[in-house]
Symmetry: C2
């Protein structure tokens, strides 16, 4: 396997309140040089939650997504705060977004989105043994919550009702973890 290219230079091209765009000047092992742009991450890790109220169901949220200007089905998620580890962040987001807390949290692994252009990483956390708990969150309006049989996920994806890649990938990880558990 060829080695990774050398980063000759990194420069900040533009930034806004939320995003920072960087250019990286790269030299590949065959001598070719390219400039690639990427979006710098927020610095802290994000979590995605596969919350299961019972062994056959998962909780999806339906939330307005400005990138596609429509309500979109996905999973509860959020960013870890500076003093939190992933599991603490997962517990807080679950309470704020869903109104539940989990007795059992399991980190299933990490996802990237489009690693050629984005630095973002998500820790996927399986949340089980749920009980009601309330804390006000930072959402502009309460999220629509949907309790869905796990067995219906493939149909929901095939019909185009669940199209968010990071949610589908997180559910795939959870299905795999549950299958290995037996």
């Amino acid at each position: 396997m060829r080695t990774c290219p050398t980063i000759l230079k990194t420069e900040l091209l533009a930034e806004s309140g939320y995003f920072q765009i960087e250019a990286l000047h790269l030299q590949f092992s065959n001598g070719q040089q390219r400039v690639y742009e990427r979006l710098r991450g927020t610095g802290y890790r994000s979590v995605m939650l596969v919350a299961m109220p019972d062994p056959e169901h998962v909780l999806l949220v339906r939330e307005y997504a400005v990138g596609v200007e429509a309500k979109v089905l996905g999973l509860p998620k959020g960013g870890a705060e500076p003093d939190e580890d992933y599991l603490q962040a997962a517990q807080r987001e679950l309470i704020e977004e869903v109104g539940l807390r989990a007795e059992r949290l399991t980190e299933l692994g990490e996802l990237t989105l489009a690693p050629g252009h984005l630095c973002h990483r998500y820790s996927v956390v399986l949340a089980e043994d749920l009980s009601p708990c309330y804390l006000p969150g930072d959402e502009p309006e309460p999220l629509d919550l949907i309790r869905l049989p796990l067995a219906q996920i493939p149909d929901l994806v095939a019909r185009g009702e669940l199209h968010e890649a990071r949610a589908i990938a997180a559910l795939f990880m959870a299905l795999g973890a549950l299958a290995r558990r037996g």
Copy 2:
């Protein structure tokens, strides 16, 4: 279900050669106002290919990804050019990136990545009945190509070797389509 918020104003905050950052001023149905930022898409649709050299295997590519500064496993992919539909773009990318052409191309559906912040959409295309074909592409170095049994995908994801959400979601769509085909 509540209605989608009204977009009061859209403004371009910053741009680079590749990215454009927009701010959208929104008013939710309960009167709350928020400003959300999003990354405008490139304008043309992207395709992701699940290319199967035989009914039990899929072709993955390993490519340097500047967002995570590492080689990353994913699927062949690319953007449709202005005069191409998705299937034409899929065929061209398959030839350029993998050196194969497909007799049979099936569109499986559409994926978003993080629709709260990104406008990007990917059409997932299943490519079958493959035969050798060569066209020079625009990659700085040839991609590493990996022929993987479909049955090994869950393990690859569980071990963290395949972590790109859009690739995992596209493979999940393909596994579903193949299962429905019987």
